[in-house]
Amino acid sequence: MSSSDHAYNHSYNYSVFDLAREQPVFAEFPNRLHVGERAPDFPFENLADGQTVRLRDLWASGVAILEFGSFT
């Protein structure tokens, strides 16, 4: 593995799963962004039509369920 590969593996889109890198992320989860706080708003791309959807639009007038995930 080259030094540039090594650097990339530690970026957001890692190419190699490493449990040791993920465990601290799980441990930190209860300590940040709690219920009762305001949810962060971000723009997303709608896969169906390419249009931009903001998260705040999902909860503007009702309740929103947000599941994060990927195919893998």
Binding site: Y14, F44, G62, V63, G69, T72
Partner: protein
């Protein structure tokens, strides 16, 4: 991932003002068949593969390539959040388990309904609990194998 159960949940509560979305993040276990994202085109292609494989009915929304939203919400591979009207966080879960999500949703809807009748009669408070989810190691390994030999070896080497 409880895709079918979460789709069913979305269908059952859609007429009660509940909007559901699947927010596509980085690949948790990249492999030869579904690589890590080096472009939005790769991310779109993998999201379409997920939609086809799981017959996912909820809308799929793509985070940006750097995972700005995913990182802000905690970076975990399959978390679920319930957000109330106006943006207040009602529920956060490290993993997605449809029954637990429905439990949180029902509590949220009941509180909102009570406040709509008499705002002074009910007040929210913070609570925590440990939830449970079924483990299916066979299905998890099958998912890794679908992604490719690298995904299998990376996980079990870890």
């Amino acid at each position: 991932m409880a895709a079918a159960a979460m789709d069913d949940l979305a269908d059952r509560y859609g007429d009660r003002g509940v909007t559901s979305a699947f927010l596509y993040t980085r690949e948790a276990h990249p492999g030869e068949n579904y690589r890590h994202h080096t472009s939005l085109e790769v991310k779109r292609a993998n999201a379409k593969a997920l939609r086809a494989h799981c017959n996912l009915r909820r809308r799929i929304l793509l985070d940006d390539l750097d995972g700005s939203a995913h990182r802000a919400y905690g970076s975990l591979p399959n978390m679920t959040w319930i957000i109330g009207p106006g943006g207040r966080i009602f529920y956060k879960a490290m993993w997605t388990e449809a029954q637990d999500v429905e439990s949180g949703l029902l509590e949220a809807l009941a509180g909102l309904a009570a406040r709509a009748v008499d705002k002074e009669s009910i007040a929210p408070f913070y609570s925590e609990r440990l939830a449970w989810r079924p483990r299916d190691d066979g299905a998890f390994r099958a998912g890794l194998e679908r992604t490719g030999p690298q995904a299998v070896s990376d996980f079990y080497r870890s």
